[in-house]
């Protein structure tokens, strides 16, 4: 209604109309970039995503990721041709570690998404409905939280049998309770807010209050948790891989690589050393990013 010449709305008009939003955004970006560790986290995550996106097309020996065999150059130390050395069948460790980024990204995404997709709705219901249903959801959540996730995941993989898919299923199955806890608490607090109260008074239905007034405001802590979880989920999957219950060789997963490389210590140290560095940097990146996002999006819960 503001400008009749709708097709050529200049950017300036759009900016003017959304001034408060852009101002808020600029302020957040400034706050985020002021913290060196947040920027470092973002950098690590971007580097990881870049590796995951381009990995297979930029590595020097793409066929090595699928488990090619070159026995003539097995277990050679790091050199100009093989930055991270080669493994017991002569595969380039650098190639396999870089391709492993995509594997880890996929693992982290699936686990975090499934965890959030199960946990967030349950948390909203538990927080909004309260009563018997809410109580029941929270008790079950507490029970799942009473066993360390790695132990439960181990039990589930033990039942399903080893393999990367089973490991992902197992971890995803034990991942949701954290989201229920978080979202339930948030929902409980948000539904007392004046604007939710007002919406209810004006006759808004439950669904509208939940989707329009509660979820958007609970989004920040969920995003922060999801960022942290990407790292932790990758770490957990790598742990199962290391034990021998996750990804099976020659699948280029970091934990499984360390598991095999362990047999070649101490002489052929590069085999298990480099994948570990990549796990560390990836998890570190997501943690620092999560911390930085929390400081900007959800400053009240800092230190929790």
């Amino acid at each position: 209604m503001s400008t009749p010449a709708a097709p050529v709305r200049p950017l300036a008009v759009w900016l003017a109309e959304h001034e408060s939003t852009t101002r808020e955004l600029r302020r957040s970006i400034r706050a985020f970039t002021r913290s060196a560790s947040s920027v470092a986290g973002l950098g690590l995550v971007l580097a990881f995503l870049l590796l995951a996106a381009l990995g297979p097309s930029i590595v020097p020996y793409p066929e090595d990721a699928q488990g090619a065999v070159h026995l003539d150059r097995k277990l050679s130390p790091p050199s100009a041709a093989h930055w991270f050395g080669t493994d017991e069948v002569g595969n380039d460790v650098f190639t396999r570690v870089v391709v492993g980024a995509r594997v880890s990204l996929r693992i982290g995404l699936v686990i975090t998404l499934v965890g959030a997709l199960i946990g967030v709705p349950l948390g909203v219901v538990a927080g909004y409905v309260e009563g018997k249903i809410g109580e029941a959801i929270m008790r079950v959540t507490d029970m799942f939280l009473s066993v360390p996730s790695l132990v439960l995941a181990l039990a589930v993989v033990g039942a399903l049998g080893p393999g990367i898919l089973n490991a992902i299923i197992a971890i995803a199955l034990v991942w949701w309770p954290g989201y229920v806890r978080l979202v339930q608490g948030k929902t409980l607090a948000l539904k007392q807010e004046v604007y939710a109260e007002a919406a209810r008074a004006m006759g808004a239905g439950r669904a509208r209050i939940v989707f329009v007034h509660i979820l958007p405001n609970a989004l920040s802590p969920i995003i922060v948790k999801a960022s942290m979880d990407m790292g932790t989920a990758i770490l957990t999957a790598a742990s199962l891989g290391f034990i021998g219950l996750g990804a099976q060789p020659p699948y280029p997963e970091w934990g499984a690589m360390i598991s095999i490389g362990r047999n070649y210590l101490p002489v052929w140290w590069w085999y298990s050393a480099f994948p570990g560095v990549f796990i560390y940097l990836t998890v570190l990146g997501f943690n620092l990013l999560g911390d930085g996002l929390r400081d900007v999006l959800d400053p009240k819960s800092r230190g929790a």
Binding site: S146, V147, V151, A155, F242, I243, L245, G303
Partner: protein, 339 residues
């Protein structure tokens, strides 16, 4: 306080029941056929059937669950297919080792983490603070199993400072068990050579296992301390001329410890999970290694046994943390009793 303890205790029992439901469900919705697994690859169908009947696997689920519970009440956790011995006996043998490892690690994490967090809060943005923040971000990101391997590589193999793994050297005489905690028993029996040897074997596993806990204790204690030091009663104490040391240790620490305690309780549980990795790396004969060896050979009952033991320990730890809360903060006690 009594009602508070009782209400927490009732909660503990409820949680334990839930844990049993979870472990039972995991074992029974699994696609594998436990009877076939137990019978071995060469078993005839009739042998599988006999085993199915022997373990009651042909009964309806609720009957099996009731059987499972009565079995548990008698201490029957099933049998390990691999070792052919009762899971309870295996757990009795391995658990003290894990308990020693976790207790030492937690003690170390608290003994280093709390002062480091305090120092870092008092000297914000100085080098102590930078070091402790580096520790606290790295600790949770570094894969424990990889850290363990690298420590073995450097400390045990390259510099030959400490043993590579295991609990004792072959030459060391294990003490006659009194408490079944090796280090304690060696000291009680006066076998100081064995005691020293056991301690040397414990150093690397303890450092590896405590690192994530240390990191989060530093982090929480630092954040909380900074918060507490801003309070008015601290400003008042400063105005009265008390030394920083006295203010921090006598007046601030108790309040800063409440969230730190939660973290310690949580971390105790996660450490029990971490033993799975650390014991595998250091060949430490505890329940973590037992669970891994069982999982790798599809031996299911021991994994459930370990899950139960770890869950139970975690719950007891949280129960103790709740009690400590009530002691540290009378408001929590009153609130929980009223609710």
């Amino acid at each position: 306080m009594k009602t508070y303890v009782l209400s927490r205790l009732a909660f503990l029992v409820l949680m334990l029941f839930g844990l049993l439901v979870i472990t039972f469900s995991i074992s029974h919705v699994a696609p594998g056929d436990p009877a076939r697994l137990a019978a071995g690859p060469d078993a005839t169908p009739s042998m599988v059937e006999t085993i199915r009947q022997k373990y009651g696997l042909d009964q309806p689920l609720h009957v099996q669950f009731a059987r499972y519970l009565t079995g548990l009440a008698r201490g029957d956790l099933g049998e390990s297919i691999r070792s052919r011995s009762a899971v309870l006996d295996d757990l009795r043998r391995y658990f003290p080792n894990t308990f020693e490892l976790v207790t030492l690690s937690l003690a170390f994490a608290v003994a280093v983490g709390v002062p480091l967090g305090m120092l870092s809060a008092v000297h914000q943005n100085r080098w102590v603070d930078h070091v402790s923040r580096f520790v606290s971000v790295s600790g949770v990101a570094i894969p424990a199993f990889w850290l363990g391997l690298m420590l073995q590589l450097l400390v045990a193999l390259h510099f030959q400072l400490l043993p590579l793994g295991g609990r004792l050297s072959l030459t060391a005489a294990p003490p006659e068990p009194i408490t079944h905690f090796l280090i304690v028993d060696a000291a009680l029996r006066g076998q100081w050579a064995t005691f020293g040897d056991a301690l040397r074997h414990a150093v690397l596993p303890v450092v590896t296992l405590c690192f994530p806990a240390l990191a989060s204790i530093v982090r929480v204690n630092r954040a909380e301390m900074i918060e507490v030091l801003r309070q008015e009663y601290i400003a008042n104490a400063r105005a009265q001329g008390f030394s920083t040391f006295r203010i921090v240790t006598r007046y601030a620490l108790k309040n800063a410890m409440i969230p730190t305690l939660t973290m310690i309780g949580l971390r105790y549980g996660w450490m029990l999970g971490g033993t799975i990795l650390v014991e595998t790396v250091y060949d430490w004969p505890g329940i973590g290694l037992y669970a891994v060896n069982s999982a790798v050979s599809s031996d299911f009952q021991p994994i459930l046994g370990v899950t139960l033991v770890i869950g139970l320990n975690f719950m007891i730890a949280n129960f103790l943390v709740d009690l400590a809360y009530g002691w540290l903060d009378p408001r929590i006690r009153r609130h929980a009793t009223a609710a």
